[in-house]
Each structure stands twice: as structure tokens, then as C-alpha cells.
């Protein structure tokens, strides 16, 4: 029996997955073949999209970079002729242990992502789905469930890293009749897509984790707060919830127990700060998403003043594995204080960008080189940015560092939710710091003066540095402002906003100094600090002079041209226009 699966996550669809899917359906029906074409979620190898898996008598073959033009050949040779088209195959399930991308990974959260059909509850059940909640309801008391989660050592995957079991216990012990569970699916970190891929690829795993949490703390109602820009994840969640309701897995007396549990969806409306738990709660209540002072913590006074337990998508997606496999097995992975695995979204200047789940404590180099295949286009590895706008840049020289909550925090970055952006020597660190500050400055809710105005001042300083107008004590000024913002902000947004600046100053101070003192951008990225000159390759074709908007280029036809540096506005048009590489950008 053969079966075909096409990866239809957001990135698969963007790469043309739907066309491939339809083409397979057409070609199969033209050949009167009764073979199922299924959709599945992110397989992790986003760099190889469109991905198609052909399941064939126990083994399966993963075709990479499939376009609709490839489909006919795959159908004719593999499906009909039984000869896999070797040159297009990335790996097979049997050989997955050998594939460099998968070899070092440990897949718990992602174990069924890219394998099951996210739109089918039966598929989820086939892969041990909803066994954990049944086990919890039948075998364990509420406190026993909480104990298991405590003993597993799992910490929140949303960024803060607070022990999940301890949090559940707070909500369990908090007095109150109506308690709530909230799943934080706001994923605001720009350039991170772990939660989205989990929701798109295996939505039921998140629902099951929420059910177990609901039973443990005694909550009967739950909300999923999902980012507005995730239409596909939203659709798949809605289907999943509907299917659960039909089967009696959600509603009154779930799985025939005396426990009731419902899950509702709330769509976010585009505000990064709403990822912060108290702002998120305000947003569900229909208000402006402004954080408030804690304590009281949501565990005591959360949604509509009731005890509320809020966890991240990935945190919930770990829970059923823990219940089924035991706390010890989970705790056997990772480092002393960070247990289990972490999903990272690898992106940026990396050869194999995608989704990787690794045991806590893996080194940066292992992730970048062994899994990610090193830097794209043979450039030089410079740093990783981890933790998004709240995190920081860790230089390549620290590549042997083990990634876990404690180690990352020591560098001045934070673990964050799992965005891992790889940077090469063409990325300017000052410019990157400016990028993140621009983001946080825009997203500050405006409640705290230092977060609102301080970030703006920092941004202005960074802007003038990248324009070559930096002043001598600007670095000290940035550090001073950063300290004040960290100390006088109410929520995590303000408290961590200076991190990208502080870590780049800490590890790349020479780059700041080059900008400020020498008026030079070592990465050749800040436009205002570049110098364009013409070298002896110039054939005098006059193309550049024709393009220059300010007539800064002079020279006779067939003679070497020259750029008047005072007149040049550094637009780069000449550089792009020259066909013989005679213009240097320095």
C-alpha cells in the first residue's frame, strides 16, 4: 500500500505546495490509481520545500524541492514503476538517523508534526493521541498529575522559563470555583515560527495538553489566544476543537469522566505586548492590552479576576508525552536545570533553515553547523541572535556554549521562545540592534515613561551612529539609558528591550567604535558609511555616470572614471549598474 503526503504548512503552501498536491491528485486519477494524497504539517526541513513523502511498504521516501513539473515522473517511476526517483530524494524514514539535519535532533513535541494529517482527529488517535488525557483521568488524581509535571522538570517554553508544575500547583491551590486555562499562541517574536508550526502540524497535541492542565488545576473553561496573522493555524485549531466536541472529548463529562472542559478561541488583534500574560488577559476581556503590576499573579487573579493558568503552545504540546512516558524519562534529557527538549526556528544566513528540536544543552555550533549545515553561500559565521527583541547576540567565538536557560541568561540574552537567527559577516551588529529597538519602541504600550521615551532616545542614538553622526560618549549614553529602562519598566517588554543593544555592545564594541570614531561600517552594510570608488577594471563605458542621480561621476568615454566623494550620496546605483565590477564598495 502506498500513500502520499504533501507538506502543507504555511511555508509549504508559500513554496507552491497546493499546486503539487492538486497535481498528484490529478495524475493519480488519470492513471486510475486509488492512492490517498494526504496533507501534513511542517516536516522541519523548510529549506527543502515543497516536501512530499511517499509511504511505501513500511518505508517512506522524502522528496525535496518538488514542483508540479516533477509530479508526473514521481508517479510514473515510483508509484507505478516501483522505482524511487533517487536523485530527488532527500532522505527516507529508514535512513533518517543518518540524515545530517535529523541525526542530532530529539523529537518529542514535533514527533508527529509532518507525519500526521493535522485535519484528522482519527490520525492523531492512531498515533497514541488522547491516550495521555485518558490515562490522567483514569489513573491519577489532580495532585498526582501536577507531581508528574513538577518531577519532569519542564519549564515554560514561552520565554520566562518558569517551572510549569509549580505554576499549576499555584492555580490548583488558589481558592475559586471557576478557574481558567489559557494557551498563549501570540508568538510575537518577529522571525520565530515554532508555535505556528506546532499548531498547524499537530493542533490536537496542544488541545490534549490543555485538557490535562484543566483537569489538574480544576479548570472547566479554556481560551487559546492566537495571533491574527496565523490564518492557517486558526483554521486547523477550529477544526480540531470541532472534532473533539463531536467525539465528546470536549464539553460535559469528557471521556466519560465527571470532568467538563471547553476550549474557546480568541484572535489577537496585532499587538506584540499582548503576548505578556496580564496584557493578554486584558485583551481577552476586550480591553486595551496593557500589562498590569504583578502580584497578584494570574494564578490567583487572572481572567475576570479568577485563578488562571497560562502556558505557551510548546509547553502544552510537551505534556501528553510526559504523562505517557513518565517524568523520569523527560528529566533524563537536558541539563541539570533545563530538562527535555527545545524547538528552535532556524533562520537567517543559515544553509538549512527550518524547525529543529534538540535536547537542552546542545551547543550553538552543533545547531548551526551539524543541523543547520553552516552558513549560506560560504560566508563566515558571526553570531546567533536568540530570544528575539528581548534577547541578544551571542558571538561565534562562544559557539561551544551549551544552550539552556541559565547559560543563555549569563550572556545577557534570554532563551526566549526559540527564534534562532544566524548572522554572517555581512550583518552589521549596530544596525541589527537598531532593528530590534525600532520594533520594541513601536510595540511599547506606553504605560511606563522609560519604556516609552527611553527606547525612543536609544533608537535615535543608534540611528545617528549608523548614519555616521555618532558622538564620542554615545556608547556610555546607551548603557546608561539601558540600565534605567531595565529598572523602571513594569513588564518584560521594557525590562528586556535594551538586551539586543547591551549584548552587541558587550560582544561587538569594536563595531560600535568603528562607526562612531572612524565613521566606518565593518560589515559594509550601513549605507551612509560606505565609500564607492572606481578601480582600474573600468572600461569607461559611462553606464555608471548615466545612472548617478547627482552627477558625481566624471570621465571621458573609454577612460577610467572617477567619483567625486563630496558629491556622492551613496545611493549604490553605480555599483549595481557596472557590468565589469569596476566599482568598489568599502
Amino acid at each position: 500500500m502506498k500513500e502520499i503526503k504533501v507538506g502543507l504548512g504555511t511555508c509549504g503552501i508559500s513554496a507552491g505546495g497546493k499546486m503539487v498536491y492538486n497535481e498528484f491528485k490529478d495524475k493519480l486519477s488519470q492513471n486510475n490509481l486509488d492512492i490517498e494524497v494526504k496533507q501534513t504539517g511542517c516536516m522541519g526541513m523548510c529549506y527543502n520545500e515543497v516536501l512530499v513523502e511517499v509511504v511505501d511498504n513500511g518505508d517512506s521516501y522524502l522528496y525535496s524541492k518538488v514542483s508540479s513539473d516533477n509530479v508526473e515522473k514521481i508517479v510514473n517511476e515510483h508509484i507505478i514503476g516501483n522505482h524511487p526517483v533517487d536523485e530527488w530524494i532527500a532522505t527516507s524514514r529508514k535512513n533518517i538517523e543518518k540524515d545530517p539535519f535529523f541525526k542530532k535532533q530529539k523529537r518529542i513535541v514535533l514527533q508527529n508534526c509532518g507525519i500526521i494529517d493535522p485535519g484528522s482527529i482519527d490520525d492523531y488517535i492512531l498515533y497514541d493521541g488522547y491516550k495521555a488525557i485518558k490515562k490522567a483521568l483514569q489513573k491519577y488524581s489532580q495532585l498526582e498529575v501536577i507531581d508528574i509535571v513538577c518531577n519532569s522538570g519542564i519549564r515554560g517554553r514561552g520565554g520566562g522559563g518558569f517551572p510549569t508544575g509549580v505554576k499549576w500547583k499555584f492555580s490548583y491551590e488558589a481558592p475559586g470555583d471557576s478557574k481558567y486555562i489559557i494557551c498563549n499562541a501570540d508568538e510575537g517574536d518577529p522571525g520565530a515560527f515554532m508555535d505556528r508550526s506546532i499548531l498547524e502540524g499537530n493542533p490536537h497535541s496542544v488541545l490534549e495538553g490543555m485538557m490535562i492542565a484543566g483537569y489538574a488545576i480544576g479548570a472547566q473553561e479554556a481560551y487559546i489566544y492566537i495571533r491574527a496573522e496565523y490564518p492557517l493555524a486558526l483554521k486547523r485549531l477550529k477544526t480540531a476543537i470541532g472534532d473533539c466536541e463531536k467525539k465528546g472529548y470536549l464539553g460535559e463529562n469528557i471521556f466519560g469522566s465527571n470532568v467538563s472542559f471547553t476550549i474557546k478561541i480568541k484572535e489577537g488583534a496585532g499587538a506584540f505586548v499582548c503576548g505578556e500574560e496580564t496584557a493578554l488577559i486584558a485583551s481577552i476581556e476586550g480591553k486595551r492590552g496593557v500589562p498590569r503590576l504583578r502580584p497578584p499573579f494570574p494564578a490567583h487573579k487572572g481572567l475576570w479576576q479568577n485563578p488562571t493558568n497560562i502556558n505557551n503552545v510548546e509547553t502544552f504540546a510537551n505534556i501528553s508525552w510526559i504523562i505517557l512516558n513518565g517524568a523520569d524519562k523527560f528529566a533524563s534529557m537536558g541539563t541539570e536545570k533545563s530538562k527535555g527538549t527545545k524547538v528552535f526556528a532556524l533562520a537567517g544566513k543559515i544553509a538549512r533553515s527550518g524547525l529543529a528540536e534538540v535536547p537542552m544543552g546542545m551547543t550553538i555550533n552543533e545547531i548551526v553547523y551539524d543541523i543547520g549545515g553552516g552558513i549560506k553561500d560560504g560566508k563566515k559565521f558571526k553570531a546567533v541572535q536568540i530570544g528575539g527583541p528581548s534577547g541578544g547576540c551571542i558571538p561565534a567565538s562562544m559557539g561551544d556554549m551549551k544552550i539552556d536557560y541559565e547559560e543563555v541568561t549569563k550572556t545577557g540574552a534570554i532563551m526566549g521562545s526559540g527564534g534562532l537567527i544566524v548572522l554572517d559577516n555581512t550583518t552589521c551588529m549596530v544596525d541589527l540592534a537598531k532593528y530590534f529597538l525600532n520594533f520594541t519602541q513601536n510595540e511599547s504600550c506606553g504605560k511606563c515613561t522609560f519604556c516609552r521615551i527611553g527606547t525612543k532616545r536609544m533608537l535615535e542614538i543608534l540611528e545617528r551612529i549608523t548614519l555616521g553622526k555618532g558622538r564620542e560618549n554615545d556608547i556610555e549614553l546607551l548603557e546608561d539609558l539601558a540600565e534605567k529602562i531595565k529598572n523602571s519598566s513594569l513588564c518584560g517588554l521594557g525590562q528586556t528591550a535594551p538586551n539586543p543593544v547591551l549584548t552587541t555592545i558587550k560582544y561587538f564594541r569594536d563595531e560600535y567604535e568603528a562607526h562612531i570614531i572612524e565613521k566606518r561600517c565593518p560589515a559594509h552594510s550601513c549605507a551612509a558609511l560606505l565609500t564607492y570608488t572606481i578601480n582600474e577594471n573600468c572600461t569607461g563605458c559611462t553606464l555608471c555616470a548615466k545612472k548617478c542621480p547627482v552627477n558625481a561621476i566624471s570621465g571621458e568615454v573609454k577612460e577610467i572614471h572617477e567619483i567625486d566623494q563630496d558629491a556622492c550620496i551613496k545611493c549604490g546605483l553605480c555599483f549595481n549598474a557596472c557590468k565589469v565590477g569596476a566599482i568598489d564598495k568599502l
Partner: protein
């Protein structure tokens, strides 16, 4: 369904979903109501604000405060085609800045603006979720990855002619 007392003039604005009202209370209904208003009109018309204000019993001024807090909500209609350029980190380090420059040059508008002919609106988003194709933009529901200035110009031309 709750009976609403709405002045005759404002009642014209009513063809968006108000099935939320059948629920026992209106707890937290404001944002979903605004979202469905925007779904049906493409933006939130002033009349809708008054209408919703009646439903949820929240003063219009406060609703206005909520609308302006969230970047999703618009008080003005959008152009026929919406271009959303990704300004996420992966796209940024892969050159989204120059993508934006090309777009601004081609369309003659800045972010959050609409061309005079109403054909294009330009917006930015933080990560479209296909970072492996960075830099990325979306035109309506179609994603364009690995952008170059040539690809961008070609895409815009297609939409300009497809009036």
C-alpha cells in the same frame, strides 16, 4: 437575541455577524465584534463604532481607544490589493530594507498608505512564517519569496494590469 435600542440612523450598519450576542453575556465581546465589523467592511466605519457601543454598553470613546491600540484595526478603507512586506528578523537580515525601498519607489507610497488610484495599499508584518524563503512579501493571499527587485516589479505589474 438581545433587543437593542439603536437610533434609526445608526441601524443601517448591521450586516455583520452579531451572533455573539446570543451568548449569556457580553464579556469580552468587544474585540470580536470589531473584528467582524472589519471583516465585513474592510475597515471600521464610524457608524459601526456607535452601533457596537450600544451593544456592549461601552462608550464610543473607549472603543476608539481600543481600536487605535491594536494595529490590526483600520479606520480607513484599504486599497484593492494589499501588499504586506515581511519585516521579521530573518527577512531583515536578508535584505527586506531594499525590498521596501523598491516597493515605495514603484508605488510612490509609504507604509500604511494607499495609492491614489486605490489599487495598492502597503503594510508591514512581523514574520509571515516562511523565513526560509526570506525576503518575503504577500500580495493579497499570494506569497512571494526570495525577492529581488526584478521579481517585485514583475509582481506589481501583474496586479496593475489585472485591474
Amino acid at each position: 437575541m438581545t433587543v437593542l435600542k439603536i437610533p434609526e440612523k445608526k441601524r443601517e450598519v448591521k450586516n455583520f455577524k452579531i451572533d455573539l450576542l446570543t451568548k449569556k453575556d457580553h464579556k469580552g465581546a468587544l474585540i470580536p465584534l470589531l473584528q467582524s465589523a472589519q471583516d465585513s467592511y474592510g475597515y471600521i466605519p464610524e457608524k459601526a463604532i456607535y452601533y457596537i457601543s450600544e451593544i456592549v454598553k461601552i462608550p464610543a470613546a473607549r472603543i476608539y481607544g481600543v481600536i487605535t491600540f491594536y494595529s490590526q484595526f483600520r479606520l480607513k478603507p484599504l486599497g484593492k490589493n494589499v501588499i504586506r512586506i515581511c519585516e521579521g528578523t530573518a527577512c531583515y537580515v536578508n535584505g527586506s530594507k531594499s525590498v521596501l525601498e523598491v516597493l515605495q519607489d514603484e508605488l510612490g507610497i509609504g507604509l500604511d498608505e494607499t495609492t491614489d488610484d486605490g489599487l495598492f495599499s502597503l503594510q508591514s508584518v512581523a514574520c509571515l512564517g516562511c523565513c526560509s524563503l526570506a525576503p518575503v512579501m504577500m500580495i493579497n493571499d499570494e506569497t512571494y519569496g526570495n525577492l529581488t527587485s526584478k521579481k517585485i516589479k514583475k509582481a506589481i505589474k501583474e496586479y496593475s494590469f489585472a485591474k
